[in-house]
Amino acid sequence: MNIQIRPILVALRRHKAGTLLIALQIALTLAIVCNALFIIHQRLANLSEASGVDEADVFVVANYWADVNRSTEQVDAQVRADLAALRQLPAVLDATPASGYPLRGGGWDNFVTKTPDQVKPTTDAAVYTGDEHFIDTLGLKLVAGRNFRPDEVMVMGTQQAITPPTAIVSKALAERLFPGGDALGKSFYAMGTTPSTIIGIVDPLHRQGVDSSSNSYAGQALIWPLRADDSKGIYYIVRAKPGQLAAAMREAPKALFAQSRMRIIDPKDGVQDYATIRHKVFDSDRGMAILMGIICAVLLAITAAGIVGLTSFWVGQRRRQIGVRRALGARQRDILAYFLTENFLISVAGVALGTVLAIVFNLWTMTRFAMAPMSMAYVGVGVLVLLLLGQGAVLAPALRASRVPPVEATRGS
């Protein structure tokens, strides 16, 4: 097959406006599509972030006290009784009190320093509180050190600031504070005047928040041995025995109300399993990914339709010229190749411009929305998709052109 590029270029020069429009449309589509693909990929990556929690068996009870005028001792007694009741349930493996839980969508975090008088904080950590059952209830993997002992668990009442002398930290936090890998036994300060010593390291443990502001502190969390007996309420994190999640979620609120009626557990979302928690916290990411997907699909369809429309017009305009070529000996496949090549040349010009636009668009999102730089792989995929799309779109009109009979040359149009 011998394809003459020069005649194509000469012909295109006579259709400057149309050629430029197709090239421009391909360029814009490429710029939007590869940025959208990049956003989709990022958001989908968020959806599968590991929390460290044994999500299949764990659920959370948001327990509020109806009577807030109780002393810390009274609340603590109630919390202990509640926990004992929860742990005795046949479908329950373990339970812990907590002030927050991974993937909650935001919550308590503290700046962390290595010395008490440090001006600039070393980093930031999500703060979890719980008793000696916390690690086992969540199903966290202890990769170094030990768990809390019951005698290390302290009580923190409403409006109290307590810094326990021991803490378990996530591996990410340990490595950020002590890059040498010898964090165990070392101490840090988390907005308190007394240090906490690292007695154990877990990996992984997600933060409570998932927003972009906590990206630079990803996976950095600390656990303090505290029962946060706030007069407002408390979270109970409960781990069901394998396969008994539904039963445990039914039993838990009943058992708590049997302990005391002076509590509020929202009938709608007071008891949530981890599937729900994960679904909720990543809702906007999933929504954005779906929206981007739709935009990409519609955009590609419109661009394809535009190419079909303009090429059909060109074919209609050149029926006589095609007839002449056929009469002079051009085969059907030569005509087909002519239009495919023509589209390819336009598309190449389009994707070249599109690559520049895509990078400009990415730079704009980087400055305006603090997005990461886009890998050129997305541009590569986009270029490939658009070249194939162009060839696919031009195929139908080109086939129609190839079937123009040579006798067309003799007809006065």
Binding site: A66, D230, T365, R368
Partner: protein, 435 residues
């Protein structure tokens, strides 16, 4: 003449149904997508208190220690401490002022069959209601005397009033909140400022506070604070703020009726900071800001990033749709070179031809606009199904409705300009000869 052109346009559009449908669809999709995101953006960046927001200001000061202070670079704190809030409130240097914070209270319905439930609450001083122009369905706000007396009085929202009292006038009734009895003095009418400008640390949109009680009283009866607490130094820890801790957790708003008063108030904030520094409470040189409502919303970038990103993408999408329509119109107009040649030969001027083709483009735009409007309605319905806090606000208002049509018409006329101009350049003789 115009009607004749419309007639011609409709005939011409009817001849190439597929091409016409493609053009209408492209315009409709582009308009639908951009109007959906533009409406969301418009709703989310709206003025929460039109006519009033220009005189409402949010004073910011910087009570932190000198650690980490970069002159001119470190912004002052977003909220105030209890001590500063009370000092500024008692100074009474503004036309009106209110100190407030968010919280939540356990509502224990008396005789009704409802279970106790938690309700978002606002702990504030009396200035809140007249300053923000809060309308009352029943009763009235509490006054400064009740603030001083730590009175057990409450104002509730109409939503909560519907839930607890079936919408009847509940003033004078007793309501048990977090274990303490309160007397209801007022029920708020239709009032739901969006964005929730006076406290952005909770949800920025569609925040639904049911209970308002005096700040002083809320502290007496140990009601729970809910909102951002920012501490510095080594004094802060935990989730609940205390009055003398180095933590900011309250919002302070003032009303200043003239720019001169705003300038004077700013100077007062500088003087206050200097005085506190002299007393040893503050360590930094005066670091103050005084923003009005819209400036405050802008500073906090209250419109979610995702919404702005979507808006940018939607307009890129509209651009592609427009380029596409230009291409299709070009094909369509040039294909009719013969017909246009005949009209030229019969005496139609280039200008008349140009007008005729633009009318045709306009017809495409109008039909596309209607399609785009339907798509925007569908798009906004989809947005409302989203779980985001602002979702329920996404409705098309008359201004945006008009904007949709103008955008569609403008876009299609713009898209028709080049093809129409090209088509008018045809030499009539050449076209007639080839017939």
């Amino acid at each position: 003449m115009f009607r004749y052109y419309i007639d011609l346009a409709l005939r011409s559009l009817g001849r190439n149904k597929v091409l016409t449908a493609l053009m209408v669809l492209a315009i409709a999709l582009g308009i639908g997508a951009s109007m959906t995101t533009l409406t969301v953006l418009h709703v989310l960046s709206g003025d929460p208190l039109p006519g009033r927001s220009g005189t409402l200001y949010y004073p910011q000061i910087d009570p932190r220690d000198s650690q980490g202070y970069l002159p001119g670079k470190t912004p002052p704190m977003d909220q105030v401490t209890w001590t500063d809030g009370m000092n500024l409130l008692r100074a009474k240097r503004a036309d009106r002022q209110a100190l407030m914070t968010g919280g939540d209270v356990a509502v224990q319905p008396g005789e009704s069959t409802l279970d106790p439930f938690y309700e978002d609450a606002r702990f504030t001083t009396a200035g809140f209601f007249p300053m923000f122009g809060v309308p009352f369905a029943y009763g009235h706000a509490w006054g400064g005397a009740e603030d001083e007396a730590h009175a057990r009085v409450a104002v509730i929202s109409s939503t909560l009033n519907d839930k607890l009292f079936g919408g009847k006038d509940s003033t004078g009734q007793t309501l048990r909140l977090s274990g303490t009895d309160f007397r209801i003095v007022g029920v708020i009418g239709d009032w739901n400022p969006n964005p929730h400008f006076y406290d952005l640390d909770r949800a920025s949109y569609n925040e639904d506070e049911g209970v308002y009680v005096p700040l002083s009283t809320s502290q007496d009866v140990g009601m729970n604070h809910d909102g951002n607490v920012e501490c510095w130094g080594n004094g802060g820890n935990g989730i609940n703020p205390i009055h003398d801790s180095p933590c900011t957790w309250l919002q302070f708003w003032v009303q200043l009726d003239s720019p001169a008063k705003a300038t004077a108030y700013r100077q007062f904030l500088v003087n206050y900071s200097e005085q506190q520094k002299a007393l040893g409470r503050f360590q930094r040189p005066p670091n103050v800001q005084l923003r009005n409502v819209m400036q405050w919303l802008d500073y906090n970038q209250v419109v979610p990033d995702d919404v702005r990103l979507q808006n940018g993408l939607a307009f890129g999408f509209l651009l592609v749709c427009l380029v596409n329509t230009v291409g299709l119109m070009l094909a369509k107009f040039l294909r009719r070179a013969g017909e246009l040649g005949v009209r030229r030969a019969l005496g139609a001027s280039k200008r008349a031809l140009f007008a005729q083709l633009l009318v045709e483009a306009g017809v495409v735009g109008m039909v596309g606009g209607v399609g785009g409007l339907l798509l925007a309605f569908a798009g906004l319905w989809l947005v409302r199904q989203q779980p985001a806090s602002y979702a329920a606000l996404a409705h098309l208002d008359p201004a945006m409705l008009l904007a949709t049509f103008l955008l569609a018409l403008g876009a299609s006329l713009l898209a028709g300009l080049l093809p129409a101009w090209r088509a008018c350049q045809i030499a009539p003789a050449l076209q007639l000869k080839s017939q």
